[in-house]
C-alpha cells in the first residue's frame, strides 16, 4: 500500500500506476503482485514478417479464430469490440485503472485496454459473452442475478470476469480479500450487493456449479 495524492491505493492500483508509466514493464509489473495476472509470453508466438513488415497476428476469441495485421500497439480491447464485434467488454479508462475491459487471456484475467495486439499472438481470449454455456449461466452470473447487483451495468462484464478468476485464487474469500484484491471500479457503487454476490458465488463454486 502506498499513498498517492492523499489516497490509499491497493496493490493493484499501485501496479497500474507503475504500468502507465513503464508500459514496457507491463508483464513484469504484473508478475508477483497479489492480484496480478501474469501473461505467459505466448509459446511459439510466430510473428511472420509479411511484405512491408506487417505481421499477421492470429488469435482465438471465445473459440473463434481471428487474424489481424494492423497496428501492433492497438490494445486488445478495441480488437474485441470493433473487429470481433463483441461489445460486452467495455472501455472505461484505457489505462488499466477501472477494469471495465477485463477479459481472460490464456486463462488469466487481464485489463485488455493495455494489452497490445503484439502480445496476443496465438493467445486464447475469453470474453463475457463466452461465460454462459448454452443456456446455463456461469455461477458468478447466477450470484449476480440473485443479488441483483447491476445498476447501470456498464462495469459488470469486467467485474464478473475479474471475480471468476479472483474466486479461483480465493475460493473462500474474506471481506478483506475482496477489499484488497477486487479492484474493479463501479462508479454506480453497486459494491454492497456485489460483495454479497461474491460470497454467494464462492458457495456456488464449492457446490461445483458451472
Amino acid at each position: 500500500m502506498f499513498q498517492y495524492n492523499g489516497y490509499w491505493a491497493t496493490a493493484l492500483f499501485e501496479t497500474h500506476l507503475i504500468l502507465t508509466v513503464i508500459t514496457s514493464a507491463f508483464w513484469e509489473a504484473l508478475l508477483g503482485t497479489a492480484h496480478g495476472h501474469p501473461l505467459k509470453k505466448p509459446e511459439g508466438a510466430h510473428y511472420q514478417n509479411q511484405k512491408g513488415g506487417v505481421r499477421m497476428i492470429n488469435l482465438s476469441i471465445n473459440g473463434k479464430s481471428y487474424s489481424y495485421n494492423g497496428d501492433e500497439d492497438m490494445p486488445l480491447l478495441w480488437f474485441i469490440r470493433e473487429n470481433a464485434k463483441l461489445t460486452g467488454t467495455k472501455y472505461g479508462c484505457g489505462i488499466a485503472q477501472c477494469g471495465a475491459c477485463t477479459v481472460h487471456l490464456n486463462g488469466e484475467a487481464v485489463r485488455s485496454c493495455v494489452v497490445p495486439m503484439v502480445d496476443v499472438a496465438d493467445a486464447n481470449v475469453e470474453t463475457i459473452e463466452n461465460l454462459i454455456k448454452g443456456e446455463t449461466l456461469h455461477f458468478v452470473q447466477r450470484a449476480w442475478i440473485e443479488q441483483d447487483v447491476p445498476q447501470c451495468g456498464y462495469c459488470q462484464s469486467g467485474q464478473i470476469m475479474a471475480v471468476v478468476k479472483f474466486l479461483e485464487q480465493f475460493p473462500n474469500p474474506t471481506d478483506k480479500d475482496i477489499d484488497n484484491h477486487h479492484t474493479n471500479i463501479c462508479r454506480c457503487g453497486s459494491y454492497i450487493e456485489m460483495r454479497k454476490a461474491i460470497h454467494l458465488a464462492a458457495t456456488f463454486q464449492k457446490e461445483g456449479g458451472q
Binding site: G6, W8, A9, M74, T89, I128, Y154, D179, I192
Partner: protein, 715 residues
Amino acid sequence: MMQSRRSFLKSTVTASGTLLVYFNLGALAQEQDVTTEVKANPMPFIEMDNNGNITFISSRTDMGQGSPTSLAQILLDEMDADWDKLVHVRETEETERSAYEEGLSTIGAISTIIGWFNHRKAGACLRGGFKLAAASIWQVDEKGLITEKSKVINPTNGEYLEYHQLYQKLSDLYLADVPEFKTREQATLVGKPLRQLRTRERVTGNATYGIDVSFPELKIGMIERCPTFGGSVKSFDGSKAREIPGVIDIFQVSNGVAIVAEGFWAAKKGREALEIEWDHGPLSIVSSEEIEKQLEDKLVNPDQIEKNEGDAANELAKSSGVKLSGDFNFPFVAHATMEPMNATAWVTRDRCEIWAPTQCKLDAHDQVAKFLGRNRNEIVLHRTLCGGGFGRRAQEDFVIEAVEASHKSGYPVKLIWTREDDMRHDYYRSISKLQITGKINDEGELSAWDSKLSFIDTSPYHFSPQDRNTKDGLFVGHAGIVPAYKIPNINLSYGYLDLPITVGILRGISHGYTNFAIEVMIDRLAKKANIDTLELRANLLNENERASTVIDTLKKVDQENPVLNGMGRGYAFAYEGEPGSVYQYYSAHMADVRHLDDGSLKVHKIWIVADHGRVINPASFKRQIHSSIYFALSMMRSGEITMTNGQMEQSNFDNYPVSFIGEGAEHVEIKLLDNGAHPMGCGEKMQAGIQPAIANAIENLTGEEVNGIPVKRLA
C-alpha cells in the same frame, strides 16, 4: 377504445393481435391549456402480444437508477397484470415533446413522481377496461368481477378470461378517465423488492449502451477540444494525422478539430498526430485560486438577495446568545460516468438518425433540429442505455458533436470521448464558497442566520434549453440555501461569476454544497450552545410533520445505538419541497467515524432514515442509498477538479480516483418510513445529507473543522 379527444388512453390492436396502449396526454393538456403548443401526440407505454406477454416501454432513461422497473411495477400492479408475463422492456421511440410531461427527461427524481400519476392512472383505466370487456361478453355487471394476474374472473362461477382474449373488445369501449384506484392493501407489486428488469442483459454482456452501437458503415470520431475553456482553434495541420492508417477525414468543428477513422485506435493515434494552434482565450491565465478569489469577492458583493426576513444583522450584532461563523469551500467536481460520453449520428441530405445515451431525449432532439436547421420530423433519435448519468447526460453537447462530425464528414460517426476528454470537458458541479453566520439566542432558538453563497453562473449551461440564460437557469447553482428551519431573522444572498466554464448538475444540484454548509453550521451552533443537535433540529422543524418525524425516528435510532469508544458521531438533515407539494422528501443521516492505524478516517457506519413517501421498490431504493454512500465518499475523499491556466488538471481515474469496493461505509442501516405520501425517487437525493453527517462526525472525533471537501484523510 378511445373515441373522445379527452381520453387519457388510446389503443390499437395490430394485425398480429398485439395490443398497443398509448398515453394520450397531449390531448388532455391541449384542452386544459390552449396556450401551450402541445400536440395531441400519443405515446405508447405498453405492448401485449396475443399470448399476453408484455413489453414495457420505458419513458425514462435507464442509467442504473431503476426507474423503468419502478414504473413497470406501478403500471402492472394497478392493471393487475401478471409480472411474470413482463418479458421485455424497451426504450420509448417517442419524438414529440408533447407526448409526455417533462419532455421525457430523466432528472431530479421525477420519474416516480410523474409515474405515480400517469402509469398508475393508465393501469387503473386498463384494469377497468378489461373488466368492462369481460362483462360485456358474459353479459354481467362488471362491478361483480375481479381481476388478478392478467385475468378477469367472475367469482360467482369461477369463469375467467385472460386479458389477451379481450383486446378486440377493449377497442370498442369508452374507458373512465377517473378510474378507481387500488388501495394500498390491494397492492401486489408496489412495495415489493422486485429484481431490476435488465439484470440478465447486464450480467451477460448483452446490454447495449451508446458506445456499443454498431453497423457496417459506421466510422469512429474523436474531437480534439481546446484544453483551455473558452479557447478556440487558430489553425491546424492534419497532414501527419492523415498518414496514420485508418484515418479517413480531419476537419474543424465548433468544439475543435474532428477526426474520423475506421476505429477507435486509429482515431486516437490520428488525434495525437494533429498539430493545432489554439487561441487559448481569456481563461488561459486563470486558475482555481484566482476563481476562488473572485468567489470570495462575490460573497461580499452579491448579485441577488434570495430571502431577507426580520433583521439578521441586528440580531447578530447583539451580544447575547451564541454566535458562530463558518467559511466553506467546494471544488469543481466531475461526474466520471463509467461509460464516457459518446453518441452516434448519421446525417444525410434529408435525414438524420441518432443513437444517444441521453437523459433528455427530446431536448437533445430539439437542439439537433436547431443545429441542423431542419424539421424535427426529419430527425430520428434513439435513446440507448446509459452507463451512468448523474446529470451529465442531461446536456446535449455530446449529441450535437456527433451530429456535426457526421454532417461534415458525410459518414455515420460514433463520436467517442476518451476518459480524458470526459473528465477535462465535463459540465462540472461548480466550484463554490459559502459563508454562514448563525446565532442561537439565550432561549435556545436559532434567532439569526446570514448566509452568503457564490458559484459560477450555471444559467448559460442549463440542461434545459428554455432555461438557459434565465433566472431559472441559476437555480441549480443556489438551490438549497434556504434552511427548512424556523429562523425569525434571516438573510440569504448569492453571487455568481460569468466564466466560460461548463458547469451543471451532478447527482442532484447545489444541495450537495448548500446543505453541507447548513448542516455543519447547525451542528456547531448546537454544540456551542450546549444543546443536543438532534433536539435543536427537532425543535426548529416542529411545524413540519414529515420533517420532524424523520428526526424523531433518528433520535430513537441514536438512543438504541450508543456511540462506541473511539468513534465520532455526526448528524445531518436533508429535504426538498414544501408541505402540500408532491415534490417532497425528508431524510435524517447519522454517521460514525473512527481512526484507522495509519491515521486516516474510516466511516464505520451510516444510518439513514428516509421519508420519500410511498416506496415503490424497497430493494431498488436501498440500492440507490448504498450507491449514494459510495458516490458521496468518492467525492468527499478525492472529488476535486482543479484548474490551472484555464485547463482542468485531472484526466482519469489515476488522478481523480473514485471509490473501490473497500472504500464505502463499513456498515449501513436504512429505515424507510414508507408513509403513503406521494412517492419520490431517491437516485440523487441522498447526496445532500451523507457528506455533512460524515463531516460532523469527523469534527466530533478530531475536534478539527471540516470546511468543505475534499477531506483527503478519508479512507
